[in-house]
């Protein structure tokens, strides 16, 4: 089943009077349970694509379907609810809430989603990412790789259909990067988690099922 599908997706930004075409007609789809990497030179529209697929932003034209539903023109409240329930995000820079502990960070989306067993579930998820012993630490007390693992645990809080990661290892050393990517592999294989990940690293990209090559706002067919 196609979990993400885009058709002639375009996004342009106005920089002063100049129109910057960040995406220039992207037609693609991602199957349920796939682990897809997006690669390509800087400025080719990878992040823009991920933001549109994750309903963080709206396209200039074209359509986006998630699980077959046209989500292109949903209003912002509906999109927020959709993101909460169906999409998990991991960004390049650390995205934790500084004033919440590790466990509270993971609990928060579940509380928002009115799950009742959020305490147990957040402990489970933190065990899964190997941080079961850091529940009550603050993010500032963790290393970069550990923080990124907390972010991954948080992104999985509401069992999202799709996990979107924009250069999740971009700020990490090689060892931490490998840990993260192995975690992704594990999530994909053991939980059939659909993952779309942007990366600049060919080795990391190579660990995905499939690579989408972006160039100048479109997908290259290799």
């Amino acid at each position: 089943m196609e979990i993400i599908k885009t058709s002639n997706l375009k996004k342009s930004y106005m920089l002063g009077k100049v129109e910057v075409k960040a995406l220039n007609g992207v037609d693609t789809s991602v199957e349920q349970g796939e682990f897809v990497a997006i690669m390509g030179p800087s400025g080719c529209g990878k992040s823009t694509f991920l933001n549109l697929a994750g309903m963080l932003d709206t396209p200039t034209s074209g359509e986006i379907y998630l699980e077959g539903n046209d989500v292109t023109n949903m209003n912002s409240n509906t999109r927020a609810e959709y993101r909460l329930k169906y999409i998990g995000f991991v960004f390049q820079f650390f995205n934790l809430f500084n004033e919440l502990t590790v466990m509270e960070n993971v609990m928060f989306p579940m509380m928002l989603n009115k799950l009742s067993d959020y305490k147990d579930r957040s402990k489970e998820l933190l065990n899964l990412v190997g941080l079961g012993d850091r529940l009550h630490h603050l993010p500032s007390e963790l290393s970069g790789g550990q923080q990124q693992r907390v972010t991954i645990a948080r992104s999985l809080a509401n069992n999202p259909k799709i996990l979107l990661a924009d250069e999740p290892t971009g700020n990490l050393d090689t060892k931490s990067s490998i840990e993260i990517i192995e975690l992704f592999r594990k999530l994909n294989q053991e939980r059939e988690q659909t993952i779309v990940m942007v990366t600049h690293s060919p080795e990391i990209g190579g660990m995905a099922d499939r690579i989408l090559h972006f160039r100048d706002g479109t997908i290259e067919n290799i």
Partner: protein, 391 residues
């Protein structure tokens, strides 16, 4: 999706307590502003109540008969007194003459009000003659004795036993001996009044059987409205004021006082609220990225708005309730332990009024919350993409 208040509170609480120092300082400013308003108003209420009590005790009766318009005196008071004595609920009455004069002691002289009364009747009607701080009261047949109010005595350097010269409004000048010093607590009265027997005033002013006012004491203070028409009819008089009407000027005066003090305290409150607004605003600016992440996770604008408004509300709830509590304690303390004010020479105590208390609570709370509105709007408008990519 309705805003989940529990989640919003969860985050606001964590966010607000994260910086303890700022939290304490800001909360303190709300506490002080709230307590200040409560205490100031409580003291004003206390002063007003004392003033009303003093006035009612010494200067007015439950009902007070005045001359008709354009007349200076009530005439034929002998008959009127007889008729009063016949009325069942009239417990006592006291006719008074008021006139003006100038009292001198050597080079010092001060113009004053001469209050002439019958000491025996006055004693049954008011507590004025109990307000002696030195010496003794005048008798109805005293010819050379007067009582002098405390501040007047001070100004003229007079004490019990001293002689002073009184010039009446008709030009007659006579030397009197100060028999006692009176202090009522009413500033106006205390600064310029002398008291003499009414017969002596009749003699010097060459009048008789007249009064400037007749004070009436009823068996029950609350019967004034009922009794006013009865007395009007029986005594054939038109101009009667109740003790409430007599003290109305005090409450009017109090209200203007209150407005002034409210403005002053309001400034303090607004300053506190502005600091709440600024702290939350700065927080929002610093947190743009986290706000963006929160939205990416799936919260909507209304939720973000609620989070930051709730921070203002937390400051409000904690600050106002502690302020209320401290203000309440302070008022209760001053109620039990009045303090002496050297300037007005009176004891100042406070009076707790629950209506005021509720108003202050609501106003302080609302003002504090309002301070959070702008930062909360600002936060709710953070754009996800811009915030996450740090532009």
């Amino acid at each position: 999706m309705p805003v989940d208040l529990r989640c919003a509170l969860f985050y606001s609480g964590k966010d607000i307590f994260k910086n303890r120092k700022i939290f304490i300082i800001i909360t303190l400013s709300i506490i002080l502003a709230t307590a200040n308003i409560i205490v100031i108003n409580g003291l004003i209420n206390g002063m007003i109540e004392d003033l009303v009590d003093n006035t009612v005790e010494s200067s007015v009766g439950h009902l007070n008969i005045y001359p008709d318009n354009n007349e200076r005196f009530i005439e034929g008071i002998g008959i009127k007194e007889q008729r009063l004595a016949a009325l069942k609920e009239v417990e006592a009455y006291s006719p008074r003459i008021s006139a003006t004069g100038v009292l001198s002691n050597k080079e010092l002289s001060v113009s004053n009000t001469i209050l002439a009364l019958d000491p025996d009747k006055e004693r049954k009607t008011t507590k004025l003659l109990e307000k002696l701080i030195r010496g003794v009261a005048v008798n109805s047949n005293d010819k050379n004795a007067i009582l002098v109010s405390s501040r007047l005595a001070e100004d003229l350097k007079l004490d019990v036993g001293d002689e002073a010269t009184l010039a009446f409004e008709n030009g007659i000048i006579k030397v009197y001996t100060v028999k006692g010093i009176v202090r009522t607590g009413n500033l106006d009265f205390d600064s310029s009044t002398i008291i003499m027997p009414i017969n002596e005033a009749y003699r010097q002013l060459a009048i008789d059987n007249m009064a400037s006012v007749i004070l009436i004491k009823l068996s029950d203070k609350s019967m004034t409205e009922m009794y006013r028409p009865i007395i009007m009819q029986n005594l054939d008089v038109n101009n009667i004021k109740t003790w409430k009407e007599e003290t109305e000027f005090i409450s009017n005066f109090a209200n203007s006082w209150r407005s002034i003090s409210s403005i002053i305290s309001g400034v303090g409150l607004i300053a506190a609220a502005i600091s709440v607004g600024i702290v939350i605003y700065i927080n929002v600016i610093h947190k743009k990225r986290q706000i963006g992440i929160m939205k990416a996770i799936g919260t909507n604008n209304a939720f973000i708005f609620t989070v930051f408004l709730m921070e203002a509300a937390i400051f409000g709830v904690i600050g106002v309730s502690i302020g209320d509590f401290l203000g309440y304690l302070a008022i209760k303390y001053f109620e039990a332990n009045p303090f002496y004010d050297a300037i007005s020479q009176t004891w100042i105590s406070a009076k707790f009024e629950s209506r005021l208390f509720y108003i202050v609570t609501i106003v302080s709370f609302v003002v504090t919350i309002l301070a959070g509105v702008y930062p909360a709007i600002k936060a709710s408008r953070v754009e996800i993409i811009k915030a996450i990519w740090g532009t």
